[in-house]
Each structure stands twice: as structure tokens, then as C-alpha cells.
Amino acid sequence: MTPLSALLLRDMRLAIRVGGGALMGVLFFLTVVTLVPFAVGPDLAQLRRIGPAILWIGALLASLLTLDRLLAADHEDGSLDLLLMGTTPLELTVLAKAAAHWITSCLPLVIATPLLGLFLNLEPLAIGAVALTLLVGTPALTCIGLIGAALSVALRRGGLLLPVLVLPLTVPVLIFGVAASNAAVAGPMSFGAPFMVLCALTLGSLVLGPFAAAAALRHGLE
């Protein structure tokens, strides 16, 4: 087993066994989506219109939930220092940790999306579009969040700082994710263009996130 796959499996095991793991994020997602109709009213037509936006906001917030523990837990028990001293490039190490976070925190959200879409009176096509855009877009959220997690790793109040740092950077992902979902249902444009931009954002974040996070860790923990 290579060090990276070992790290991936370890992180996934920890995420699933400690603190409810994947289910916690889904539960939060469900709660947020349940709260929205209380705020905007039970009008099904309106919910159908703003449904993709609600699902995206809910997933965005839910993906932030476990982010502050992504590196902070390892920092507290000292295993992050071992990872820093290891021979594996730190960029790949943090990428593996991000992958574990995505599989345990974001993938369940994507899987839960169809059910929550039914609550919001979405058509099957719209549900498919939202699930697909979330599947493609959430890795970008994780990688951008990784930067925030690395910056706030050693802070006592990092949990509060992280969303403040990360959320403004997720604006493009949110815009194109919701736009692609809406385009699939209503138009006026084709689904392809915003979806391609969303893919590009994810690929860009996959490069930027690990490098920036590794730099932040090297500078922050020496």
C-alpha cells in the first residue's frame, strides 16, 4: 500500500467512525433544505424555481462543516508533523486528505440530493442536473476549503475564521453551479457552457488548492 492510499483510507476511516461522519453533513443539508420553505413559504412553484439555488447553498454550507477539522485534528495529535516530515510531497499529501474529505463529506451530499430535490418539487431533469453539477463542483469547494483549513490550522478560533476566508472564494463555483442547473431546466442558454466553466473551475482549484495549502502548512508550522 502506498503512503497516499494508506492516508486516504485512514482519513476515511476516521471520518466515518468519529462523530457520525458522513451522516452529520447529510443531516445538516437536510435541515437547511427543510428550513428554507419555512422562510420563503410553501409555494411549490416558487420552490421549484429556486430549488437548485437552495440545494447549492445547502451543499456549500454542509461542505464547510467538517472542513475546520480536516487538518486541525491532525495538528492537535501531532500526526500532521509526521506528514510534514515524510518523504511524500506535501502537495500530494494534502490532496489525499482533501480526497478523503470529499468522499466522506461531499459525496454523501451528492447522493442525498435527489431525495432533497423531491422535497423542493424539482423535476427529474432538474434533479439530475443539480446532482451532476454538485458532483463536478464540490471538489472545487473542498480544494478551496483546503486552503482555508491550512491557513487556520493552528488557530484556536480557526473554526469561525475559515468560512469568512473561504466563502468569498467560492462565489464563481456557486454562480456556475446554479447557472448550469437552471440552464438545464429553463434556459435561456445551453447547459454545456456554464457546466464546462464549472469543470474548469474544479480543475483549476485542484491545482491551486493543494499548492497553496501545502505552502500555508510549511510556512505556518515551522
Binding site: 486552503i147 491557513l151 487556520s152 493552528a154 488557530l155 478560533r157 480557526g158 475564521l161 469568512v164 476566508l165 466563502l167 468569498p168 472564494l169 462565489v171 464563481p172 454562480i175 456556475f176 447557472a179 442558454m189 466553466v197 473551475l201 483549476g204 491551486l208 497553496a212 505552502a215 500555508a216 510556512h219 505556518g220
Partner: protein, 243 residues
């Protein structure tokens, strides 16, 4: 005197002590000229009336809102590459100034928008991306305040600044795209084909005035930060000696 000599904080303090009064005077003079031009030379707009004067405050602030981030970027590269404390100080001193200029740009824009559009806020592409820029300034300032150790805070803020610099054009592009999707006819069409010289000259003078104001405040804030760090060091030494 070579530029590298400036990197010594003591030399920097000595030099800025000599420069600052001149810079402050120049700021006041250019502001006086600029405000004279704005109030007595620049004509009122035939549509907007005297409200157009807000532009002479609003546009320089908006330019500086972006320019200060660029200054922070250069300082951040200095922090990460050369690990120089003076670069840390420059980045730290610039952040609140940038936030203030961004806030003023938003505030004047909103006050301008009230008579023009009938509302204080429109989700126009420009306004929205400046708002995101403002949030990012506040994020950088929050990061500076949360990390205790100054040099570690500097490197964390430097990485965030550079990540922000990569992301800001993407955010700008996305918001433009989002905006054209939502409201095809933009309300705000600044500039147009050409600006008449009677308006352009006061605008450029005011921009120079605000630029000088930024330099003055930035140097003063850097001096304060250096002195604050010295005081902190002295306190620590005193506490150490007493124990």
C-alpha cells in the same frame, strides 16, 4: 542610497520621517486643487445635475480598492520570497486602508445610486464584485488579527492575498457573466465612448490626490506598525528581565 538600504527598518524610519511631511503637504495641495476643479470648473451633468460630483470621489476610491490589493500582492511576494519583516509590515498596513477605500467606493456608489437608480443597492456586476473584494479585505484583516505570532500571520496572510489575487479576476468574470444572465441591460454604463476633458482633468487630479493620500497613510501606518513591534519587543524584554 541603494533601494536595498530601505529594507533596514531603522533606515526606513529615518527616511520616511523626512519624506512624510512633504508627502502630506503634497496630498493636501493636490486635494485642494482637485476639489477646486471639481466644484468650480467641472460642469454639472445635464442629466444628473450636481450629483455627478460624487463620481470624483467614487472613481478614485474604486481604482484604489483594486490598486491596494496589488500593493499587498507585491508585499506578499516580498514576505514569502525574502521573508522580510518590512514586507510583512507593508502588507499589514495596506489591508485596512484597502478595506477603507473599498468601503468608501461602495458607500459613495450607493449614495450616488439612490438619486440615479432610485435605490441604494443594485446587484450590478461592478457593485457585486467590489462587495466580494471588500469581504476579502475583511478576511485578510481577520486573519492578521487571529494569528498571534506576527511573522507567521504575515506568511498566512501573504498566501491568502496571492490566492485572492488569482481568484479576483475569476470572481470578476463570473459575476459579470452572472449579471448579464440576470439583467441584460446594465443600469450603470460608466464612461461611455469618451469623457469630456472638463470632467477628465478633475477626475485625474482627484485620483492623484487619493493616490498621494494612500501613500501618506500607508507610510504612516507602516511607521506605526514598526514602532508598535518595537514597543512589544521592549515589553517582552522588560518582562523577561523582571522575572
Amino acid at each position: 542610497m541603494a533601494l536595498i538600504d530601505l529594507a533596514n527598518p531603522a533606515r526606513f524610519l529615518a527616511l520616511t520621517a523626512r519624506i512624510l511631511p512633504w508627502l502630506a503637504t503634497a496630498t493636501v495641495v493636490v486635494f485642494a486643487i482637485g476639489l477646486y476643479l471639481v466644484w468650480f470648473v467641472a460642469p454639472d451633468d445635464y442629466q444628473m445635475g450636481a450629483v455627478v460630483k460624487i463620481m470624483f470621489i467614487h472613481v478614485p476610491n474604486a481604482w484604489l480598492a483594486m490598486g491596494v490589493w496589488a500593493v499587498m500582492c507585491i508585499a506578499s511576494i516580498g514576505t514569502l520570497v525574502w521573508r522580510h519583516p518590512l514586507a510583512d509590515v507593508a502588507a499589514k498596513a495596506a489591508a485596512p486602508l484597502g478595506a477603507a477605500f473599498t468601503f468608501l467606493a461602495l458607500l459613495t456608489g450607493s449614495l450616488w445610486g439612490r438619486p440615479m437608480w432610485g435605490t441604494y443597492w443594485v446587484w450590478d456586476a461592478r457593485l457585486t464584485s467590489v462587495l466580494v473584494l471588500f469581504l476579502m479585505y475583511l478576511g485578510v484583516m481577520a486573519l492578521w488579527r487571529t494569528v498571534d505570532d506576527p511573522s507567521r500571520a504575515a506568511r498566512a496572510a501573504a498566501i491568502l492575498t496571492l490566492v485572492g489575487a488569482i481568484n479576483l479576476p475569476i470572481i470578476k468574470f463570473s459575476v459579470d457573466w452572472w449579471n448579464t444572465l440576470h439583467q441584460p441591460a446594465s443600469l450603470l454604463r460608466m464612461g461611455g465612448p469618451a469623457i469630456h476633458p472638463s470632467i477628465l482633468t478633475p477626475l485625474l487630479v482627484m485620483a492623484l490626490a487619493f493616490l498621494l493620500l494612500f501613500f501618506t497613510l500607508h507610510l504612516a501606518a507602516m511607521r506605526n506598525e514598526i514602532l508598535r513591534r518595537r514597543v512589544r519587543t521592549m515589553w517582552l524584554m522588560q518582562a523577561h528581565a523582571a522575572s
